[in-house]
């Protein structure tokens, strides 16, 4: 049996898991009804009384929470505790200018660290490990989430943060890094750059494992990373609306990621009808916080498409496993681990005077790194006889989009009418990245 961070909880028999979930659902619904005006209104309007939730069926009468609800309640409207009890905030990109803000109490941070510790331990992290965090540290949950989780396990944490691949490789060699933590595409990039530098990771370093999250990836990529570079890649999943990374994770024997069901209640729904689908069906993952103090979210639509397996795993864990995320039920793009909504780009354009609303987003992959190009149809207001004005326009648009998206796109000006349109409607997004199952 694998090492576990909290073995008694991670192997709880299913009937006990479900009894615990129902108990915590009742507590959480009662808390948000009492403390969050948004949820009080929602629950009252749906005729759901917290004291009358006696089954999961009763719970399903509660309306979904969506990303837009975060925006409407920006920044602190969804808090279930006084702001002074919030000891940290994180934020992720929203569909328009406003980001999705999440708050944490001290106890939430402890819980979060335990969840991250669970999946790190699955990937073999121990007190002897050296864990190099290559996620950005900041509002994004990746850096700090993984950092404190790895510290909780007792590993030596190297907070190298994102970017500067050669420096990462230097640290991997000098510090004896055993685990890197980053997006799958960045891990692949680190491996490739090592190859270019003539560095044999297996012979010359102690790096054996990558804990990967933040973007979907494929089984083929896992195999390639192992066969070419000898690095084991393990998947983990999370989203800031619920906590950050630490909703689920996998180990070597697991086929799928265990959702930490004592803290998150998962459902799979039909994204069209919103109906809950029977176990084993593929659909959109909906998650409910069961233990979060600062900002519990009920039935949050993740927009991620997956399926659940409730069978006990070869690793001994009893908690439901979710399959790799195979797609989205909305138009969100994940580029270099950053969530990008086409509407954010539109919003940024609307704020800039004189820019054309006709644009196209092209996402591609060069080597293992995603690239983002935004093509803009030029208008008379944008055009000038002087080249420097067009260059200034390009760099202004680039700066504005980089601020809005946290990713710097390449800007290409094109002639009007050249961007493809289908049935009169502009085709906004072209994702050329290879699709693998």
């Amino acid at each position: 049996m694998q090492q576990m961070w909290q073995p008694e909880l991670e192997t709880l028999p299913r009937p006990q898991i479900e009894a615990l979930q129902l108990k915590r659902i009742r507590e959480t619904v009662a808390r948000v009804h009492e403390r969050v005006p948004f949820y009080k209104e929602r629950l009252d309007a749906a005729g759901v009384r917290p004291d009358q939730i006696n089954s999961f069926g009763d719970f399903r009468r509660i309306p979904f929470t969506v990303k837009e609800d975060f925006r409407r309640n920006y920044p602190f409207g969804l808090l279930a505790v006084p702001r002074r009890e919030v000891v940290r905030v994180h934020a992720s990109s929203g569909t328009t200018g406003k980001s999705t803000v999440v708050g944490y109490t001290r106890k939430d941070l402890e819980m979060w660290s335990d969840m991250v510790a669970r999946f790190l331990v699955m990937a073999g992290v121990t007190q002897d490990s050296v864990v190099q965090v290559a996620f950005g540290y900041g509002l994004f949950t990746g850096g700090f989430g993984l950092h404190y989780g790895a510290e909780r396990v007792g590993a030596t944490v190297v907070p190298a943060a994102s970017g500067n691949t050669r420096r990462h490789l230097q640290l991997i060699q000098d510090f004896g890094t055993t685990h890197v933590v980053c997006t799958p595409s960045y891990a692949m990039h680190i491996c490739e750059v090592a190859g270019e530098m003539g560095l044999d990771l297996i012979k010359q370093t102690r790096l054996r494992t990558a804990c990967l999250g933040g973007e979907p990836w494929s089984e083929q990529m896992r195999q390639r990373m192992f066969s070419l570079y000898g690095i084991h890649g393990y998947d983990n999943y999370g989203l800031s609306e619920l906590i950050g990374p630490g909703v689920s994770g996998e180990g070597p024997e697991c086929k799928g990621m265990h959702i930490f069901e004592d803290h998150f209640y998962p459902e799979i729904i039909d994204p069209e009808s919103g109906e809950v689908l029977p176990p084993g069906s593929t659909g959109e993952l909906v998650l409910t916080n069961l233990t979060r103090e600062a900002q519990p979210v009920l039935r949050y639509r993740t927009r991620d498409i997956t399926r659940l397996d409730l069978a006990t795993c070869a690793c001994g864990r009893t908690m439901a496993r979710m399959a790799r995320v195979t797609g989205r039920s909305d138009d969100m793009l994940i580029i270099r681990g950053v969530n990008v909504f086409p509407t954010q780009i539109e919003h940024a354009f609307l704020e800039m005077q004189g820019t054309s609303p006709n644009y196209q987003i092209i996402v591609d992959r060069q080597g293992s790194i995603d690239s983002l190009e935004v093509k803009i149809e030029i208008t008379e207001q944008m055009l000038s006889d002087e080249m420097k004005n067009l260059h200034r326009l390009e760099s202004d648009v680039q700066k504005r989009l980089a601020e809005a998206l946290s990713i710097t796109p390449k800007i290409t000006l094109v002639e009007p009418g050249t961007l493809p349109r289908s049935e009169g409607k502009a085709v906004r997004v072209i994702d050329k990245r290879p699709k693998e199952a």
Partner: protein, 143 residues
């Protein structure tokens, strides 16, 4: 003095420059002078044509993005040093040239220099003071 210039946005794709010229040709509009500023992805085609208003309309109808603006035309004798003398004046007077292009006529032995200045009014003053003729019409070009 000032002549009307048309500037077109041209994508770096085959046939775009040709399409612009063909559109003008079909309307019997003559190109008197041109320059192409290019980058990796696109270019700005600057044109002096026989009928700027008709040219503007024609190119717009052909689907091009066009802006018109005034540029300064200066006539010099077509001989070595003709341009250098003018640039000496501009340099001495610290007048910035945004861009320029030139055309000469073998028949008249005169050359027309098209200038875009940061500050056109100052440029005219300094050139006139230095005895350099700023053209009222582009005789060389026939506009």
């Amino acid at each position: 003095m000032f002549v009307k210039q048309l500037s077109l946005f041209i994508e770096n794709r085959s046939g775009r420059l040709g399409a612009a010229c063909r559109a003008l040709a079909d309307r019997k509009i003559n190109i008197l002078a041109l320059s192409l500023a290019d980058t990796a992805d696109f270019g700005i085609l600057r044109l002096i044509v026989s009928d700027p208003d008709a040219g503007h309309e024609t190119l717009k109808k052909a689907g091009f993005t066009v802006v018109g603006n005034d540029v300064l035309a200066v006539e010099v004798e077509d001989k070595p040093g003709g341009l250098a003398d003018i640039l000496d004046v501009l340099s001495r007077e610290k007048v910035n040239v945004e861009y320029m292009y030139a055309f000469s006529s073998i028949r008249t032995k005169r050359a027309a220099l098209i200038f875009r200045f940061e500050d056109s009014q100052t440029a005219i003053k300094k050139l006139t003071a230095a005895g350099i003729g700023v053209m009222n019409r582009i005789d060389v070009l026939g506009q």
